[in-house]
């Protein structure tokens, strides 16, 4: 091969090109823009105006439910000795107690209790119950579900357990537990969480099993990645949107569940203010004393809808395919 450009000689080639040392640090740098998963989740989440509105509404409800009971303590049986104060409509209650007051804004219940204060305290109970139960059940359910879906030996054992526990009537289990350990708030939490995680774990098991046998997990396993690392790095991140969707249905479901259990008479004890109990007490006369029935129903519904909407929209936002 002949040199086509005789002007470039060995000398002037050195002037045009210089050898430099290889820089290990800058070779590691990636020039793509910084990407944070959660930041882009929230960017997508706040792009929808309705989410901001719902979030503000939730903040207001939280503030009212957790701060106002300090100033407006709810005493269910304060007027129990005064039959004249029972089942008063808002206007009658204000007339009976002499003028306008927030306490009688929604009238009185069947033992002369303030409906308005009851709703605020009941909302606090419902929110606390939902948060605590969802936190416990989701944590336990996801950890056990992840192992359950991953390990085939554990799967065989857990399926037997699941088939048995899932067939014991849930109402019976809760009732028996409430009888055995009392009807307080914490025993109710215990009754709802003792087997509540199992359904979540079962749902999660199926999801994990689908991801478990994907090629990239197989590759990780071939490279000798330890199991906990495969679960936490390969499988769980893929299921983030599933987890958030689950949370969106779980959180409000405990509020509905408390209402349902109170309705059939297995709810919290009488001294714990609860929306479910108020609905249950007013349901027989809901056409006669509507002010006792509809406010707790509306508040319970509003809280569940808000939590559900927020959860669903967060789940949509947590799917990376929507981040473009």
């Amino acid at each position: 091969m002949t040199n086509e450009n005789p002007a470039i000689t060995a000398e002037n080639q050195d002037e045009l090109f210089r050898f430099i040392d290889s820089d290990t640090i800058s070779s590691e740098k990636i020039t793509a823009p910084r990407y944070s998963y959660w930041r882009s989740v929230f960017r997508v989440f706040f792009r929808k105006k309705i989410n901001i509105a719902v979030l503000i509404l939730l903040a207001v409800i939280l503030l009212v439910a957790f701060i106002m009971p300090i100033f407006w303590p709810y005493v269910p049986f304060e007027n129990v000795t005064d039959p004249k104060s029972f089942n008063l409509s808002p206007s009658a209650a204000m007339a009976y107690y002499g003028g306008f007051s927030f306490k009688w804004l929604l009238g009185t219940g069947n033992v002369g209790n303030s409906i308005f204060y009851g709703i605020i305290s009941g909302a606090r109970t419902s929110l606390l119950l939902a948060t605590i139960c969802a936190a416990i059940n989701m944590t336990v359910g996801i950890i056990i579900g992840a192992v359950w879906g991953y390990s085939k030996r554990f799967d065989a054992i857990m399926l037997v357990v699941y088939n048995i526990v899932a067939n014991v009537p849930y109402i019976l289990l809760i009732t028996v537990l409430v009888y055995v350990i009392g009807a307080g708030f914490w025993s109710f939490v215990f009754a709802l969480t003792i087997t509540g995680w199992l359904a979540i774990a079962y749902f999660f098991r199926t999801q994990v099993m689908i991801i478990r046998d994907r090629e990239y997990s197989l590759a990780s396993r071939c490279l000798g990645t330890p199991v906990p690392r495969i679960i936490s790095k390969n499988i769980l991140p893929f299921l983030t949107s599933v987890i958030v969707t689950l949370l969106a249905t779980e959180l409000p479901s405990y509020i509905s569940y408390e209402v349902f259990l109170s309705f059939i008479g297995v709810g919290l004890s009488a001294n714990v203010p609860s929306l479910g109990r108020m609905i249950q007490e007013a349901q027989t006369a809901f056409l006669v004393f509507p002010w006792e029935f509809w406010p707790p129903v509306i508040v319970a519904s509003a809280i569940t809808i808000i939590l559900y909407l927020l959860g669903q929209n967060l789940a949509d936002a947590s799917d990376p395919r929507t981040h473009m």
Binding site: N167, P169, I171, L172, P252, F260, G265, L287, V297, L307
Partner: protein, 527 residues
Amino acid sequence: MKKYMLKRILFSIFSLFVVVMVVMVLVYSLIERNVIFQTDDTWNKKSKNDRIIYEYTMYQKYGYLTWTDFSRFLETKYKEVYGSEYSKQSDFLNDRNAIQKIDSYQDNPSVQEFIAKYTAEGYTIRYLEPETYKSGRVKPGGTGYLLAIHEKNPLLRLVDYVKGFFTIETIHDVTDPELTDRYTRWEKDPYSGLFAHVGSGTTHKYLLYFDNRFPFIHQNRVHINLGVSYTTYRGQEITSVITSPAGELAVKRQQYPAMLGTDQYEDTAINFHSLRYNTGVVSEADMQKFPDKYTIYSYHRAGLSMLENSFVIGIIATIIAYALGLPLGMLMARRKDKLADKLGNAYIIFIMAVPSLAYIFMFAALGTSLFHLPYKFANAQVKVLAYVLPTISLSLPSIGSLMKWMRRYMIDQMNSDYVKFARAEGLSEKEIYNVHISKNAMIYLVHGIPASILGCLTGAIITERVYAVPGVGNLLTTAINSHDNGIIVACTVFYTSLSIISVILGDLLLSKYDPRIKLSEEGGGGR
């Protein structure tokens, strides 16, 4: 496949046993049994030893234990010797008074006999010391008692329960020696005009017969004994409680068996297919009306049974749900992000998020005020209208959930290769959606169909309570509240069997609907 099904069924039966066992431990061992006295006035009025005796009587009634006491033992002992005059004999009186003396009661030979007999049978002996004043007079309720108590072991309880689960009538069931002619044969049934399998010597006369009541073929040969109610239905068997018709007597012109062939008629509501053998004394009047000793009967009633009420409401609601939910879900998927989809989503969010209690009440208020439909079941003037509100209330959540899943699965299928191929072939969008996509989306939904049909048999708790429907939905909850352990166990068996059967049926239906899905790993060779 057969081997697989056999394995599944055996495993299901095993888990059914374990579930029953767990429930038995829960209700009989975990709940403090004295809660049954919390609102019991009789218990409050009784004191000292009398109260303890009352407690044991009640515990036996609720099925916790069996017990007997010394005077019952003496009664059988001296009855053999003296006949019915035993209670006047001095032997009896001496023995009975022995347990009122704390210092000498154990020296009494009858007491020793009692203790030896019942200890050998596994009973625990308990002596309730008499409580007396200083004068020696017995305090009220303070009489002394000697008891033998047998606590039921959970495992034995399960064995006993399973043993009595099925009973099959045979011609040797009636022990009456007067009955010599024992047979089962096919005879012409005078009450239906068709043939019926009739028995003599069996408890029921008609073993298999046809009539005009749903399900038209009835049998009295095999009985499933789920358990006995202790309190709410006072000693009745649960299966008969939930299946026997309620309501007013349905009187019509009928002939008693002895009148057959004559032109005598009588207005009566007796169901002559329910005749059972009378082991006692047959009254004069019955002797003239019946040619044999099958003289115990039940009545025809106009209303439906608890199970039928729940099933009618449930099955219509299920049909409505599938008939509305699936097409609406398909519509939502086709009009994704358009108005129809948005409206549908709003409905789904409402149904999913609002407590079911709340929207059932909202619906009840709406239905009664706008359409003047009957609210409480019993108050309905026209019986059919009483079913309208409960049925629609029950279908609301199922419509929502079917819409949600149908939409989800259809949208997931929309980008599949076969859809693109169908478009390339020039098929109309309507055909692609209604025939091809929906068929594939249904694969995910067919599994739940048996569960939703069989689930109708368990009733609906809230709906039935709100509208006061006499159905089976509240059987379990009322049983729990009244500590009716027999019903609790029976309900568990019933619900668990239904859920097990519906899962198996669902799997079968799924593999029938989509032959690609195989339940068992079959051997190679493409068989």
